[in-house]
């Protein structure tokens, strides 16, 4: 009791300063948390701003006459030599009868994508009866027109500096005023493989490539990872070998992914002899990459199962294997699945190792199997980011949006699973 009055005084004296410090500390914490979230917001806003316009594409309405003179000059339709582009040119001349002169006409033809010719061809293949008839169809405009309509080309710029001539601008506004030019949903983006024509380019090929790789990854990494986790957590004796495995797994989880690419190049391509660019190689590399993630998550899930359950089962005379497969596995499964999903989402976004194994290539055909040449979605992003055509910039962002959408869905699934799993014992 001797020191009491002094204590109170001293205590009160320091309080104000301490409260200020407390507040400052809390503010710094709040700020730090906000930094990350604000960055995320800026990032998504930037991305959506850049990429959302790629989900629509400018189309031009043409009255195309499937004349026999153009398509079948010899009297018989030969798909390989029929001049479908000629149909489009005729239709455009029909629309603008006043355009004369070779270079002016060339300018006119450039308003419409070369995809228009392919479209005609597909129509004729689907219905040969069209020959001789006239159809009104929407065909994609060329990427420069598309860029202009989306406001990415400044009409005030000097004519020599912009990709569209004054005459082309006039035609575009004519088409717009007669309702023959409008933007529609860009289905090509989802239906096509890669292309050098931005209006034809799509992410289907890359998505399928990613899909095949993920299938291999799921089928290899998940069962192997779960099996390894069960062994290490439930059966492994404390030995050098299990210590070695343990250290290895933890280390592999943090080995740079590009090193796995070197592994893929040396082992799967140069030694086993699997062709370059095949989803098979990519899938194998990604499996090895995700394996430690799945093992670690699965082990955590197994660890979370309380020992009392094991003891109860063992006490009833179950074998260790029965304990694991009857009690531990079912309880740990949601955790294992969460780990698998997180591993998969990491694999889906991975690109560095794929650079090493020849997946950076121009591949138009949508891959149909595990050994067809393919790219992956992140690699496609890397490639498009490098394309000279302006219209690829927005498509790069659009591809990123699609990729992120998949990743967010996977993360969401993981979060939901984890929520359901968070059972307290």
């Amino acid at each position: 009791m001797t020191r009491k009055p002094a204590t109170r005084e001293k205590l009160e004296a320091g309080l104000k300063r301490r409260r200020r410090k407390e507040l400052a500390f809390q503010l710094v914490g709040m700020l730090a948390t906000t930094v990350g979230i604000v960055f995320l917001g800026v990032f998504f806003a930037d991305l959506l701003g850049k990429g959302s316009s790629a989900f629509v594409q400018t189309f031009v309405k043409l009255d195309v006459e499937f004349t026999e003179d153009v398509l079948a000059p010899g009297g018989e339709l030969d798909l390989a030599y029929a001049d479908f582009d000629g149909l489009v040119r005729d239709a455009l001349r029909e629309e603008f009868p006043n355009v004369s002169g070779r270079s002016e006409r060339r300018d006119l033809y450039r308003l419409v994508s070369i995809a228009a010719g392919y479209q005609m061809r597909d129509m004729i293949i689907a219905d040969p009866g069209l020959l001789g008839s006239t159809e009104t169809i929407w065909v994609p405009a060329s990427s420069t027109v598309d860029m202009f309509v989306k406001g990415n080309i400044d009409p005030a710029l000097d004519e020599a500096l912009r990709p569209l001539s004054d005459a082309q601008l006039a035609w575009i506004s004519d088409l717009q005023s007669s309702g023959r030019l409008e933007t529609q949903f860009n289905s090509a983006l989802f239906n096509n493989g890669d292309s050098r024509e931005p209006e034809l380019a799509g992410i289907r090929g890359a998505l399928m490539g990613s899909f095949y790789m993920l299938i291999i990854t799921v089928m290899l990494a998940f069962p192997v990872g779960v099996a390894a986790a069960i062994y290490l957590e439930e059966f492994a004796p404390r030995s050098r070998w299990s210590d070695l495995i343990e250290v290895n797994i933890n280390n592999l989880a943090a080995v740079p992914s590009i090193v796995f690419g070197l592994l893929g190049l040396a082992v799967f391509i140069n030694w086993v002899g699997i062709p370059r660019s095949a989803p098979l190689v990519g899938g194998l590399v990604l499996s090895l990459l995700t394996l430690p993630v799945i093992i670690i998550a699965s082990r955590a899930a197994i660890k979370a199962v309380p020992p009392s359950i094991r003891e109860a089962a063992l006490g009833l005379g179950a074998s260790e294997m029965q304990v694991v497969f009857h009690h531990v596995m079912p309880l740990a499964l949601p955790g294992m699945l969460t780990g698998a999903i997180i591993g998969m989402s990491r694999a889906l976004g991975e690109s560095a190792p794929l650079l090493m194994i020849g997946m950076v290539a121009f591949i138009v055909d949508v891959p149909g199997g595990f050994s067809d040449p393919a790219t992956a979605l992140p690699v496609q992003i890397y490639l498009w980011a490098d394309s000279p055509e302006r219209a690829f910039a927005e498509r790069t962002s659009a591809a990123i949006i699609v990729l992120l959408a998949f990743l967010l869905l996977m993360n969401l699934a993981a979060v939901i699973l984890r929520k359901r799993m968070e059972r307290k014992w």
């Binding site: 089928m219 098979l280 497969f325 290539a361 121009f362 199997g369 040449p373 000279p388």
Partner: protein, 354 residues
């Protein structure tokens, strides 16, 4: 029972996966054309590949962008499905490469010259326009430059463009250019650097007396940071120039053509890099583009003959062809006809040609 089933499913899927991968390896036939090579030719080759794939029953060729040097290296490793059928190059094949090819059994190579490409030096659209001479370029970028007296070489001391030539602006020399694996670098060194190098009389004399020393002087680019090897990602260079108005970039004309509103070409020896100036040969830094095909693969790899024909057709590389839209500068009509005929006949490169 449910838990037992999960275990079974887990193991069954592992088994199925193994078998699937195994059977995938078994299917070894290659039914598509495999192209590697120059990143400068890549945009043209991919367009042709795509049109070819869409217009015929064949699969679209697979095109990897590996750089001219890397491409030729892969190309020359041998004959067979594991090796590329075609390599693109932004320079002619060298005798040493022909020899490597031959020693690996790649005997008959079809050379196809497809057109010209100007190598432009460009900076951001709103940066100051400058006009360079070849000598300026050499002095700004060479590792060693002539010193005060004849025969003396000093380490490149020039830090700003004004140090090189008083008429140029006083900004730090910063040039983003391709690495040596790229044909663009080869061509730039040969045409621009050597061109400027030759303007120094004693170096020119050196060419006769000591060819190697001459090359070492003229072809070596400085390594002190003024020349930034920016990889082969030309599009990123354009974007970096846009962000940095003091920097210059070295890349193919097609990239300038696609980005006229972002970057502008620098005049070299008073000639601006335009389509016509390059086609006429007025612009000093332009080089032919090529691709090389293995004769042994023709008629064995599905579609290869057709692809060669497509590439050498008028609708592709003609004056009005779709490649000119992409910035490829066509050869004169006569030369085109000549090359096209040679391609049709699959005339291999004669050893004496180079």
């Amino acid at each position: 029972m449910a838990n037992r089933n999960t275990a079974i499913v887990v193991f069954a899927s592992a088994v199925v996966a193994t078998v699937l991968s195994a059977s995938a390896i078994a299917q070894a036939g290659r039914d598509y054309i495999y192209i590697v090579g120059s990143s400068t030719v890549y945009p043209f080759a991919t367009v042709v590949a795509e049109r070819f794939g869409r217009g015929t029953e064949f699969k679209t060729p697979k095109v990897e962008s590996t750089g001219s040097g890397g491409g030729l290296k892969l190309f020359c490793e041998g004959v067979g499905v594991d090796y590329p059928d075609i390599t693109n190059a932004s320079r002619a094949i060298k005798q040493s490469e022909v020899d490597t090819c031959a020693s690996n059994g790649v005997a008959e190579i079809i050379e196809v010259k497809i057109g010209y490409d100007g190598i432009v030096i460009a900076n951001a659209i709103d940066a100051e326009a400058v006009s360079l001479t070849l000598a300026d370029i050499f002095l700004a970028l060479a590792k060693n430059v002539p010193g005060g007296k004849d025969g003396e070489l000093i380490e490149n001391p020039y830090m700003t463009w004004a140090d090189v030539n008083a008429e140029l602006p006083e900004v730090r020399i910063e040039v983003l250019g391709p690495p040596p694996t790229s044909g663009t670098r080869d061509a730039f060194v040969e045409l621009a650097m050597e061109g400027g190098c030759k303007t120094v009389p004693w170096i020119k004399a050196l060419k006769e007396s000591d060819g190697d020393a001459y090359k070492a002087v003229c072809h070596t680019i400085r390594e002190d940071g003024a020349f930034v090897e920016a990889g082969e990602n030309d599009n990123l260079i354009v974007q970096k120039l846009e962000a940095n108005p003091n920097a210059f970039g070295i890349f193919g004309f097609s990239f300038l053509d696609q980005n006229t509103d972002k970057v502008k070409g620098t005049s070299v020896e008073g000639v601006a890099p335009t389509f016509d100036a390059i086609a006429d040969g007025d612009y000093p830094v332009s080089r032919p583009l090529y691709f090389y095909a293995k004769k042994a693969h023709v008629d064995v790899i599905p579609g290869l003959r057709g692809f060669l024909r497509e590439f050498s057709s008028e609708r592709a590389w003609g004056d009005e062809g779709y490649l000119s839209d992409r910035g490829l500068i066509p050869m004169p009509e006569e030369e085109r006809r000549e090359v096209a005929t040679a391609v049709r006949e699959l005339k291999p490169l004669s050893a004496a040609a180079h």
